[in-house]
């Protein structure tokens, strides 16, 4: 196996140190992600609990939903349960009891809850974190609505305000994530008005479903990057579209960024703008450049300033390191600064861009 092994860069060492910190958690976290209640997350999770128990694991249930389906009630009959503590109308996991009991696996149906006042942790996901650090593995469930970073988007879709949330970083720290996917029930035809509402509801659910699938894909992508990094593999799998727009003072950045944004959006991919630092640049060029960088930023591109003797080298080196799949260049570069330095950069880019597409834009 001809995998490229090499020395780690300082950034990578830093990332590894951070990863080791998360691995101070000795319990494993598995999350079942859904896009709405009623898609069957609880059943899937408790069914896994049953299978684990049958394989001899020490499984304890520490949280159930207030309303359960008959199938779930049936599964729970054969599982040990530590009941929730109640404070008025609010409930919380009996964290001390779980830690004291110290099961191999703890099952928590519903991760996004705020704890009542007086609990050690303000939120349930922090309770889970504590269990993981104590060496207890956790399997738990969450709906996309309750991921903090999704809140704004979800609210724009559902029109409802979401209160208890779980940070994305916690979701991403899961050792395993599994999506429970099922299309929304088809609307049953009734009056035209009811029908219209049903269609709208279905569209809302479809949008949530799409978001959940993309979130799961992003978490998986994160795991893939980690996996490749840990194994010292420098290459990327182009599982996701990553677009790099080369920004120069004279390039038609507007069209490049617009196209990049639209492709990135459709593919749920990433958009990056890069500029190779040039030492002797005129004031006019500098102003044009600043304006273009601002435009790219406001379109949602992340910006990288690269350094290097040879701009083409600098761009391609960065592109490979980041797993870029599409490189956007302007062919105004032919008449500009770069061509004076390099001859024909378009030809050079194409020649050396193995494994990625090059999109050449008119001036």
């Amino acid at each position: 196996m001809a995998r490229e092994l090499r020395r780690r860069t300082p950034e990578e060492l830093l990332l590894e140190a951070q990863a080791e910190e998360t691995s101070a958690r000795t319990g494993r976290l598995k999350i079942f992600l859904g896009y709405a209640s009623g898609v069957g997350k609880s059943f899937r999770m408790f069914d896994e609990a049953r299978r684990r128990r049958e394989r001899g694991e020490d499984v304890v249930v520490a949280a159930v939903q207030p309303v359960m389906s008959g199938e779930v009630v049936e599964l729970l009959k054969n599982l040990a349960v530590i009941p929730l503590r109640t404070a008025g109308e609010e409930t919380a996991i009996d964290l001390n009891a779980v830690i004291a009991r110290h099961p191999g696996v703890c099952v928590i149906d519903g991760l996004a809850y705020d704890n009542p006042a007086g609990c050690r942790n303000p939120t349930r996901w922090q309770d889970v974190d504590e269990m993981l650090r104590a060496g207890i593995s956790v399997i738990t469930s969450i709906n996309i609505q309750y991921v903090a970073e999704m809140r704004q988007l979800i609210e724009s879709v559902t029109g409802k305000r979401v209160t208890p949330t779980v940070p994305m970083s916690f979701i991403q720290s899961a050792d395993e994530i599994e999506i429970v996917d099922a299309p929304p029930e088809e609307p049953i035809e009734r009056s035209p008005e009811q029908q219209m509402n049903a269609v709208k509801r279905e569209q809302r659910l479809s949008r949530l479903r799409e978001l959940a699938l993309v979130l799961a894909a992003d978490v998986v992508d994160h795991q893939l990057t980690e996996y490749l990094r840990c194994h010292g593999i420098q290459q990327h799998f182009s599982t996701n579209e990553r677009i790099l727009v080369c920004i120069t003072p004279r390039a038609n950045v507007h069209e490049m960024i617009e196209t990049g944004r639209s492709i990135a959006e459709k593919f749920h991919g990433e958009l990056i703008g890069a500029y190779v630092h040039q030492p002797h640049i005129s004031a006019a060029d500098q102003a044009a450049l600043d304006q273009k960088l601002t435009m790219a930023r406001s379109a949602g591109a992340s910006i990288e300033i690269l350094h290097g003797e040879d701009p083409v080298d600098a761009i391609l080196h960065f592109a490979r390191a980041r797993g870029i799949t599409q490189l956007f260049i302007g062919h105004s570069q032919r008449d500009g600064l770069w061509s004076r330095l390099l001859g024909n950069p378009v030809d050079k880019f194409i020649h050396r861009s193995r494994g990625m597409d090059v999109r050449i834009f008119p001036q």
Partner: protein
């Protein structure tokens, strides 16, 4: 085409054998049966998996058809028998399967089209690696050229696509316990499709594709509330894509990629070849065959094709592009070993130089990640 059809297609999408597609499909079939729906199993591949076989109990099976080929007997789905039986719903495992030569239709998905046309609803299973437009990425990830592919438009026509998900770790556990394959086959499987990194990558692709299918469907519906929503596109940026077809082997990859980008951007796609005579007759046998094959391939992916008349490729191509409001021209990147021959490079430079009002995309072949082929 979709309008005349009355049968509905639901695809259970997975990323590897053993994720539970067939199980979930049979479970749905059982639920339908319990509701009194007339459901039959048209084709089921048990792979000797106990749980899955148990889920099929009590369902009506339409016996498979025996097909003789070179002295061996193969079993295929009996489409005619299913049509005669005419159930409300038919269960069809392994949607991308290629039928044995001598069968009426080449592919099982074509058999399914027949069932749908006859008004029969179909539940079917497939893995992401069989989607045509991902063929090159799958090759890059796995080092394997998947031959049994389903054109994207077939999947797009499905009424629903559902992701059947399981984590790679759980899948590898199943594999090691011998649930998915027998011992020997499992070891072989672990060598390629079942490396953990491969599974993670394929899973990500399946999730993204399913998300795309969901988005595609919700946008296709009457969507007053969603008009102008982020994913809805921007008025005035309607794209039209032109692909240059040549005899070079990378043309297939180019067509797939252009079509995939086109589908995501909602762009129309055209594929053309430029010939001085306006036809392929004067070409050497091998070149003619290759170009015909590529044009056919494009048509099978629902791309309109044309043979342009012209002595000079770049000029004829750009001229056609301009007359047809093309916004993007897709060309294959010359192979590394052909780089010294100036023709390919020169052609690109000529086209870029002439098409100053369009975007030109140079598509590069994806090569397997180091280690995956070892």
């Amino acid at each position: 085409m979709a309008d005349q059809r009355t049968g509905k297609l639901k695809i259970f999408m997975g990323y590897a054998a053993g994720v539970g597609k067939t199980y979930q499909m049979l479970e749905e079939a059982q639920e339908l049966r319990a509701q009194g729906v007339d459901v039959v199993v048209g084709y089921f591949e048990p792979h000797g998996r106990k749980d899955t076989i148990a889920r099929s109990e009590g369902l009506e099976f339409v016996p498979r058809k025996k097909v003789d080929y070179r002295g061996s007997c193969f079993e295929e789905m009996d489409t005619d028998a299913i049509l005669a039986r005419h159930p409300a719903v038919c269960v069809v495992d392994e949607f991308p399967h290629t039928n044995v030569p001598g069968s009426e239709r080449l592919k099982r998905w074509e058999d399914v089209q027949r069932l749908l046309d006859a008004g029969i609803d179909v539940l079917a299973t497939m893995n992401i690696q069989h989607l045509e437009s991902l063929n090159d990425q799958v090759w890059q990830i796995t080092g394997i050229r998947v031959r049994e592919t389903v054109p994207d438009w077939v999947v797009q026509q499905a009424d629903q696509v559902v992701m059947v998900d399981v984590t790679p770790r759980a899948l590898l556990n199943r594999l090691e316990r011998g649930v998915v394959y027998g011992r020997e086959k499992a070891e072989r499987a672990l060598q390629n499709f079942f490396r953990e990194s491969t599974l993670v990558a394929l899973r990500e692709m399946a999730l993204r594709q399913t998300a795309h299918e969901v988005e595609h469907r919700s946008l296709a519906e009457p969507a007053d509330a969603w008009a102008g929503h982020g994913a809805g596109g921007h008025p005035g940026t309607h794209h039209r894509i032109l692909v240059l077809v040549t005899a070079d082997p990378e043309t297939a990859m180019l067509i797939r990629r252009a079509k995939r980008v086109g589908d995501f951007l909602d762009a129309e796609c055209f594929a053309v070849t430029v010939q001085a005579s306006g036809n392929l007759n004067g070409l050497p046998e091998s070149a003619r065959e290759a170009i015909e094959r590529h044009l056919n391939f494009a048509r099978n992916l629902h791309i309109e094709t044309r043979i342009l008349v012209g002595d000079e490729v770049a000029m004829a191509l750009v001229d056609f592009a301009r007359r047809n409001q093309i916004t993007q021209i897709f060309l294959a990147r010359p192979r590394q070993r052909d780089w010294r021959s100036l023709y390919g490079r020169d052609l690109i430079q000529r086209i870029v130089g002439l098409a100053r009002d369009m975007q030109v995309v140079i598509v590069s072949e994806r090569e397997p990640v180091a280690g995956v082929t070892g």
